[in-house]
Every structure is written in C-alpha cells, then in structure tokens.
C-alpha cells in the first residue's frame, strides 16, 4: 500500500480584495470584494512507504497547503487523498499517531522551557510509556547531537540547534511518515548539512518515509531519491533526482569577491560570466562541472587575484522551473516522463 495516494486534489481560498487608501477601506466595508486563490489545482501523485520524496517549488507554489491537507489540518476543496490508509481530514487524530511533522517556519517546542520538557510532553500526548520516551529521547539526542542542548531553554538555542531539536521531536513517536515543510529554511550551510545527515540516518534506520518540501535544491540532492516539482498548484515535473540533476541541475553558480579590482574583460576559461559588480571587486559565474571541473575553476579564480570571499551554489529553483518549462513547452509532456 502506498504511504500517500493523492488524486485530483484541489484547494481554493477566498480572500478579501481591497485597493489602497482610506476610501477603498470604507467602500470595502459595505461592498466587500473577494478573490479566489487556487492554491492546489488537481494534484495527483503517489509515494511509496519508506520513500524519500522531494516536493519542491517556489514560494506560493502550493507545497505547504498540500502538506497541511495531508496532515488533516486543512480540508481540501476537491479530490481525494489517503495517507497511510487514513483520509487525513476525516481521521486527523488517528493519523497523527503515525506521522511526524515539522513546519520549519513555526516552532513546536515550548519557547521558554528546555526542549526536554516538550519531548516529555509529546511522549504523553503520543501515549508512550515514560521509560520508552526516555530511551527514545536518548537515541534521538545521539543521532541529532542534541544531548547537551536538551536542558537549555529553547529561546537560548541557535536556529540550527533549535531545528535539530524540532526534527528530533517530530520523530519521537517513531512515525512511519515524516512530513517536513521547509525544515532547512533560514539555516546556514553547516546546520543544513547537520539536519540532512541526521534525517538520512533516521530514515535508513527506521524505514521512515519522508516527504520534504523545500525551495532549496540542495535539500533535494542530499536527501531525496525522487522529486515532484510543483508550480501554481500543479505538478510540472516528477522524476528521479538523478535525472533532474542530469537535465536541469547541471550548472553551478560561483560568486567571488577579490581584495583588488578585477581587470576589464575578466574571464575564466570554461565559465560564463553572468555579472561583474559595479565597483569591479566581485564577479558571478556559471559553469557546468561535468565539462569544467570545480577544481579547475577554483584554481583559475584564486590565480586571478586575492580572494576575499567565495560562494558556490546551485541555480535557484526558479531557474530550474524556467528551464523545465522551456524544455517541455508545457507541463504535460514532462509529466509523461513517468514516476521513475
């Protein structure tokens, strides 16, 4: 049985529309105008149990709304969904025993209390034996490296430390499925890596299915085997991550800052110069690591001057989506690629 089955899922919201200014505010009191937002439009997909599935898209694509429908918090406007055999919005409480959730932008740990207090509370809420809760906390603390943080009030933890505790809390009751909504948002590279490593280990050890939403392609590469990309509430691409990488994530962006100004006509062989900073101290390049090895680019960049700062990143998701549209002309031909 698939862990998640979604068929033709839709969700529309009605929000009030009001023009700027006092007059418009008064008018809207008597003649309110509404606009309908289609957050999710006919979404259909399946996820196998134990699968690591990336569910990505730009801001406002409908990722979080879908996750909230799948946890039973939101009622859909149409369509069907089953999560671990439960209809989420009808069997929310029963489903809650089997899933773990992290909404990256919102804390679930008690802010003024040490994380251990929230974990013990969750143990009671999930009806675990006290001894089992303690044992599980110790286990998670080791994997997420939070043993020393558990007794510190959450407000005194860094964002990265807090997120490690948040994800650990979501795994306390040994869920079969973990729904992670932007777990790495706002984290630095090291903190992101920390969470990705711990998650990968837990998923492997306990065969937990992970549905991960993110607008960071790095999360996807590090954690997921398969990816679904949505935009404007619709699936525009679904395939193996390896295929996505080969087809669309095949370039790296490098931003460099030098101690001295770079000469006019600055060029590194095998790269494309995207932008030179106004004062000529910085430059942004793109290259394909399959053609030009990263090492070669780094050597050439450091030979060109005294480096002050360097950042290597994946192309932003918006660019990947634009490339998908460009390649497929419309969403439908890409969907025919199959689920991989």
């Amino acid at each position: 049985m698939p862990a998640i089955q979604v068929t033709n899922l839709t969700k529309t919201f009605r929000t009030k529309r009001k023009a700027a200014g006092l007059g418009a505010s008064i008018r809207s009191l008597f003649h309110p105008e509404y606009k309908t937002i289609e957050a999710v439009r006919g979404l259909s997909f399946e996820m196998e149990s134990g699968e690591l599935l990336g569910f990505i898209g730009p801001n406002g694509a409908g990722k979080s709304t879908t996750i909230k429908i799948l946890t039973g918090i939101l009622f859909p406007s149409g369509g069907e969904a089953k999560v671990l055999g439960f209809i989420p919005w009808k069997q929310r409480q029963k489903l809650a025993y089997h899933i773990g959730t992290v909404f990256g932008q919102r804390p679930q740990l008690w802010y003024h209390l040490p994380a251990i207090d929230t974990l013990i509370l969750f143990g009671k809420i999930y009806e675990m034996e006290d001894r089992e809760t303690r044992r599980r906390i110790a286990e998670l603390a080791e994997v997420f490296e939070i043993t020393d943080l558990l007794e510190t009030p959450v407000r005194k933890l860094s964002l990265g430390q807090r997120m490690r505790c948040e994800v650990a809390a979501s795994l306390l009751h040994k869920p079969k499925l973990l729904l992670l909504d932007e777990p790495s948002i706002g984290l630095d590279v090291v903190a992101k890596q920390h969470i990705r490593d711990a998650l990968r280990e837990m998923a492997k050890q306990e065969n937990v299915g992970v549905l991960l939403t993110s607008h960071d392609a790095g999360d996807l590469e590090a954690l997921c085997k398969r990816v679904i990309i949505i935009n404007h509430g619709q699936i525009i691409y679904q395939d193996k991550v390896s295929t996505l990488k080969r087809s669309f994530l095949n370039s790296k962006l490098v931003e460099v800052r030098y101690a001295e100004q770079i000469p006019t006509g600055f060029h590194i062989e095998g790269t494309e110069t995207l932008k030179v900073a106004k004062e000529r101290y910085g430059v942004k390049l793109r290259f394909d690591p399959r053609i030009t090895p990263v090492e070669k680019v780094m050597v050439a960049l450091s030979a060109a001057g005294t480096l002050v700062d360097i950042t290597v990143s994946d192309p932003p998701l918006e660019e990947v989506i634009a490339a998908i549209y460009k390649k497929g002309a419309s969403p439908s031909p890409l969907l025919e690629r199959g689920t991989g």
Partner: protein, 261 residues
Amino acid sequence: MKKYLAVFKINLLNSLTYPAELVTRSAMILLFMWIFFQLWRITFTAAGSDIINSLSLRDTMWYLLLAETLELGRPRLARVISEQVKDGSIAYLLNKPYNFLLYQLSSGLGESLPRMGMLFVLGGAQVWAMAGPPPDLVNWPIALVALAGAWLLHFCVNALIGLSAFAVEEVAPFEWIYQKLVFILGGMLIPLDFYPVWLQTIAKSLPFAYMMYGPARLFVQPDPVFFTQIILGQLLWLAVLGGLLVLVFSRGMKRLAINGG
C-alpha cells in the same frame, strides 16, 4: 486523561518560569481593589448604612476580590487562539492526537491557576487590611465549586470567540463586547444585588451572572438554595455553550485557512 494532565503541567511550569513577572502582573489588582474600596466606602457612608441590600462593605470588597481574581486570572483564550490562527502555529496544535478543545482547556487551566492564586493572595491581603477578615472558611469550598463552573463558562465563551478567528481572524471587538457584558451584566463592577429588580431579572437570565456574580456572591453569603440555583444554571449554560463550542469547532475546521500556506 494523562496527556491532558501533561498539557496542564507544562503550562503550569511555563507560567512559573518568570515568578517576578507573575507577581508584578498580579500586583495590578492592588490598584483596582484600592479604587473599589474608596468608591464603596464613600457609597456606604453616603447611604448612611452599614448594610446595602444585605451586603456590608466588607462583603462587597471580598465579593469584588473574587470577581476581579476571576476576571484578571482567566486565560485570554480568545486572543491566544486568534494569534495561533494568525501566525499559523495552530497547525502544530491540530496535528497531534488529542482533542483540540480539551487541549485548550488543560492549557488554559495551567496558565490560569498560578495567576488566579497570586491575584487572590495579593488582593486578599490588601482587602483584609482595608475592609476586614475574609468570609468564614465554610464558605470557601462552596465558592470554589461555583468558581470552577464559572471558569468553565468563561472558557466556553472565550473559546467560541477564539474560534471565530477561523472565519474573521480579528476577534478583539468580540472580546471587548464580551468583557463589557461581564462587567455590567455579570456583576463584576457592581454586585447585581445593587441593581433595580427588572435589571437583576434580565441579568440573572443570561449566562454572565453565572460567570461572575454566582461564585462571588456565594463566597460572601452562601445559601443552599442560591447555591443550587447557581450550579443548575451553570450546568444548563455549560450544556448550551459547550455544545455550541463543539459544533462551531467541527464546522470551523472546514473553513480554516492557515496563514503562510
């Protein structure tokens, strides 16, 4: 039930995290009780009597203390739920295996008890010094039972206002109206005994009297018949408002739109 007890405990713990803040916030009752004492002392002097409508100045002050303790100590649930809807944190409260309303009840009780305790101790010491000793100890358990009923009624109305945030988000106006109704028709500023009979009749047929006047009056003048009336009235209103709350929650879930997607 264990999980609700745990929710109660963690809220209790959270309320006691900053004891200085708890004491400082509760100390505002000192100002209110001082103003009440000045007003009622002048009123009794002007009336030229030690007793007005069967209440002495001392009774009135202890009545007002209990009413103020309840008003200032009850959880601000309407605001809490509306904030949870606004900032989206309600998502975490709805996806756990518990009854959302019982969670809010246990959580509100854990938050409320230390505050009510502190308000009563501070205000009580002041009223004792200004107006005389507290009512007889036998009155206390009777008042406590009615106080529990009143607290639950406040919970129901507050939660109903809070749940309206599922549809309108901003609930402050409703809360303001409710608070003023409790002030006037609940007998929080003036014991209902001092009202004209027609207004007393109206007030006693509404839930507000059972939320404030009942327990406060029983604290200073317990009477078996009045106690029965108050408890029966509270049970009736709890059935009505509790039923409405469950209905509104199940309907509200279908309308819920969580901010931030």
